[in-house]
Amino acid sequence: MHLPVQLTWLIPALPAVAAAVIAAVPARRPGLGAGLALAALAGSLILALLALAGALADPAARLIHTFTWFDLGHGAIRLGWLLDPLGTLLAVMVATVGLLIFTFSLGYLRDDPRAKQFFCFLSLFAGAMLGLLLANSLLLLFLCWELVGLASYLLIGFWFQRPAAARAARKAFITTRIGDLGLLLGLVWLQDATGTLLLFDGGRGVLETEALGALAGASTVGGLAVSTAIGLLLFCGAAGKSGQVPLHVWLPDAMEGPTPVSALIHAAPMVAAGVFLVARVYPLLAADLALASVPVHALTVVATVGAITALFGAAVAVAQDDIKRVLAFSTVSQLGYMMLAAGTGAWTAAIFHLLTHACFQALLFLSAGSVIHATHHEQDIRRLGGLRRRLPVTCATFTIGMMALAGVPFLFSGFWSKEAILHAAHGWSVSALPFHVALAAVALTAFYMTRLLAEVFAGAPRGHGAETAHESPAVMTIPLVLLAAASIGLGFLGTPWWPWLQSTLDPAFQPEPGGAGLMAVSIALVAAGILAGWSRYGRLPRTSPEAADPLARIVPRLHRALAARLGCDELYAATFGRLCTALAAATTALDRSVWDGCIRLLAQLGAYTGLVSRETDEDVLNSGFNAAGDGLRAGGRAYSRTQTGDAHGYVWMLAAGFVLVTLAVLLGGVR
């Protein structure tokens, strides 16, 4: 049984409608809201599974359903749904992870009076995310994309009364919006160049040969192919959403939301949207590869940004002390990996890593949430410690997540997906640098994850929260266990010997032979990272919260710089922030002084004219007029004596005058 493509809309609509209903039910019934949200998402999951089954039955066939949104001119703005392995697979992933996170939230937010709103926002988020994944139109995708942004804004700012949370929410929205503007411009350009925003439309879609050829064939500013320019603009949006350098600054701050939100945003769905977008429009990004004349290929930029982000995130994560911040930067780093993979052409590897990452990162965040929940909201790893015994389940699941993330060989999913990425980077013909950067990041990842594990679970408790910790309830641990299982199992979907996932996503996928040497190198690096971490943090656990970090003792300045996140936020505040403020001030001043000034000048001019004319009148003209007036008055006095007031007299004068004039006319011949 497969889902008919015409009914695709049900998948995002169920959670969206649930969100609307939850918003409408009274706040007194929080349980009702949560139940509704869970039920709706479960329904979506079932439908998504049906859709996936349909898509997998014939991976090469794309099921599309197009409908008219509204008429415009002689044409119309059309939207559509698309069921293909990429979208449906991610939809299943989002629904599954979402369901687990929803369940976890039941326990995490049991005592929060605003839990109803939380589930409303979560449902909205899930609906928008599912719509994004299944859209066959970039416009529909953008619509859902922005709604995802709205939901994340609401969720990050869920505890809006904390100034930090309120600020973080705003920062997230505005930073991603910078990227979104690029995306919007790209959409507009694409619509202008091709006349449609449908991805696949029976040969007329933007991702189909005809349009791609036209886009790659035309050139624009700076010698770029139009497809390159549009691709880069679309990548702006992806970079914003997926926290790529330099738009990554919102992601660590987004930790201000409740932990399930962090899991939702950082692990599975939201940040994945950017990678998904890159994978979705991959044909467009790759359209310029055949052109030798263009100054830069779009994919080169993607790979470069990805490599930088991977290294940056891993390096900064080394020096963070907040458990969620470490995980946040690890997410940044992993997203960099995915971009790197997509940029080097292995977008299937990117999606593979996206899937495995979604599981183990959600696992890590939820485990961290469990830790935070158990220790009464203690997030500073310097005050944790010794939780191995108190939280055995959490400790186990966290360890599994950590191993998956670090890429511990063979058993854990992260190993396989990372291996695929390294393989692709190794084979990239443009430059070997990203490959080496990625290798460095592999070692760093293993190092900082070992550090985190050791600091939180090894040694002795170093704070009140850690001392009184108790294992979280089953409603929270069961999702953890399930996710841990998935973190192990998922990896076997894409091993080099059986690359099922890759070949399903991309029917043209050809596994490249010979990865054993590379695998050995990466295993060695992971081992080195873990050993270094263990030797520094696990062997000699921290004894007090105040004790200095071992790394700070060795390279204090580097540690300080990394702890300060290399000063990105400060840099932005000093440049863009200042610029904004200055421009705003300048504009206001322009209004106040220049334009208002112009008006006032006009008024003044009028006043001056009046003044000058008054002075002239009084001094120049009046004296003359006064003299004339005196003369006139005298004359008038004399003349007034003739004014007898006798009406007859006047008529007499009139008659006499008439006679005189007539005589003058007749006799004088005046004509």
Binding site: F70, G73, V188
Partner: protein
């Protein structure tokens, strides 16, 4: 087709309400409120009738009423309605009752303000349906009178100066408009829009006025309309007026009256002076883009909610102006731009409606805040309002995000279409206008954070719950922000043939 003089009724119904209120000086507050609401709803009722009888596939005027009025001057009582007018009439139908409701919670007299609001409503409707200049201009000027008194008598601090500035500025603008049309009448002998437009298209107008004459007349008409919209930098009357006007008035000012200027651009300036507008369009486009960007920057700086919203109005109407000027500039150009022009114009009309509703809702929210904070509307006077007034925060949130252009709400479709058209016609302008979108998000979210988020402080602590009237008005406007966002076809289908025809003129 209905044989009633629907358009006359449309204009006269609010006015008769105003007369009724005027004739009953002893009327109590309660009766005045209900009467005002009832008569302002007449537009909605008649608008519904118009909507059902309207044939969206026809391009020309419908429901035409034409009678000789002043024969010696060839002035006609000529009313007519096309898609554009209908959209604006529906906008008025939505905003005017909300504006009436906004005054329900206010202390002080109700009869005279409601009377003036009804008068204003009728005048605005007259502007939207009049097809003869004399009639049109009469309504245009008549709208100033009630607005002046409303601001002057019931405005906040600085109202006297703001009202004075508002009236002097706009009358100053309309003086040029009137002079321009007097000159037009002198050479053409007609005041009829359709005839003038025909002359304008043929180029006969330019031929009769002479090369300099036509420029002077064009500049006069342009100035009159530019002040009204307003086009940057003729906007300086707007922030003080919007900041000082009472809530209902400012809702009508921004929701309806600012659309009159845009309507004038579409109905008068563009059809009558296509060649002149085309010549001036690049410069005007630069001004419109400056309005978009600088309006948003200036809003970022404001400490007062109302002034911030006033600047955001300048920003949002900048999109409409930019779309129009880009289309005008592209006329007869090299690029076959019919598709882009259609998008830009459709976006323009959508944006007119959406901005009207959204801005009215935002000012209503500001008014509600003010009413509970003793007249203060500074961003620093509140904090954490979402905790104490969640329902109000939800309504306000929809308005904020609609104004910001969030998909799913009304603002997005219009802005997307405008940008799509702008990019197709003038890519550089589209790119330059983008920072405006960013700054809009920035100032709206900053304001949102300061007023609604953070710890509860200031006037937010004891925030009285929304009254039924406020809830009704907010719910009405919220519905009109969601509906066109989800189904923009409801509005675009009304204007689509018209817009297609406009764009078709370009490529001819």
């Amino acid at each position: 087709m209905n044989s009633w003089p629907l358009l006359s009724l449309l204009v006269l119904a609010p006015w008769s309400g105003a007369v009724l209120l005027g004739l009953r000086p002893g009327l109590g507050d309660r009766a005045s409120r209900w009467l005002g609401l009832a008569f302002s709803l007449s537009t909605a009722a008649l608008g519904a009738v118009l909507l059902t009888d309207f044939d969206p596939t026809r391009i020309g005027l419908q429901f035409v009423e034409r009678h000789a009025w002043i024969r010696s001057l060839k002035v006609h009582y000529h009313l007519g309605l096309d898609g554009l007018s209908l959209v604006l009439v529906l906008l008025t139908a939505a905003v005017a009752p909300a504006a009436q409701l906004a005054g329900w919670g206010r202390a002080g007299p109700t009869r005279v303000p409601n009377l003036l609001l009804l008068f204003l409503q009728g005048a605005a409707l007259g502007v939207f349906v009049a097809q003869d200049f004399v009639l049109w201009f009469t309504c245009w000027e008549l709208s100033l009178v009630p607005a002046y008194f409303l601001i002057r008598l019931w405005g906040g601090p600085g109202a006297t100066r703001a009202a004075y500035q508002f009236v002097v500025y706009t009358i100053g603008g309309s003086a040029f408009l009137l002079a321009g049309f007097a000159a037009l009448f002198a050479v053409t002998g007609t005041f009829d829009f359709a005839q003038l437009a025909q002359l304008g298209r043929d180029g006969a107008l330019a031929a009769q006025l002479g090369p300099w004459g036509v420029r002077v007349v064009f500049a006069g008409v342009l100035l009159g309309l530019a002040v009204k919209v307003p086009l940057w930098p003729f906007h300086t009357w707007l922030p003080p007026a919007y900041a000082a006007a009472p809530t209902g008035t400012v809702m009508l000012l921004t929701g309806v009256l600012s659309k009159m200027g845009m309507y004038g651009f579409l109905r008068l300036l563009w059809p009558l002076f296509p060649a002149q507008l085309q010549a001036a369009a690049p410069a005007l486009l630069a001004l419109a883009v400056a309005g978009i960007v600088l309006g948003a920057w200036a809003a970022l700086r404001q400490e007062d909610l109302r002034r911030m919203l006033a600047y955001s109005s300048i920003n949002h109407l900048g999109y409409c102006l930019a779309a129009l000027f880009a289309v005008a500039a592209a006329a007869g150009g090299e690029r076959p731009a019919a598709e882009a022009a259609t998008a830009a114009l459709a976006g323009l009309v959508l944006q007119l409606f959406n901005h009207g509703v959204t801005a009215a809702a935002l000012f209503l929210c500001a008014g509600i805040l003010e009413a509970r904070a003793g007249g203060r509307s500074g961003l620093g006077d509140f904090g954490g309002l979402r905790a104490t007034a969640p329902a109000f925060a939800a309504f306000a949130g929809v308005a904020f995000f609609a104004s910001l252009g969030l998909p799913g709400l009304s603002g997005f479709v219009g802005e997307f279409l405008v940008f799509r058209g702008l990019f197709g016609l003038h890519p550089a302008a589209a790119v330059l206008a983008l920072p405006g979108l960013l700054a809009t998000a920035q100032f709206l979210l900053t304001a949102w954070r300061r007023v609604f988020h953070g710890p509860v402080q200031g006037a937010a602590a004891d925030f009285a719950p929304l009254t039924a009237a406020e809830k009704t008005a907010l719910a009405l406007l919220t519905g009109l922000m969601v509906l066109p966002g989800v189904a923009p076809g409801l509005l675009t289908s009304l204007t689509n043939p018209l817009v297609t025809a406009w764009a078709g003129h370009l490529t001819r």
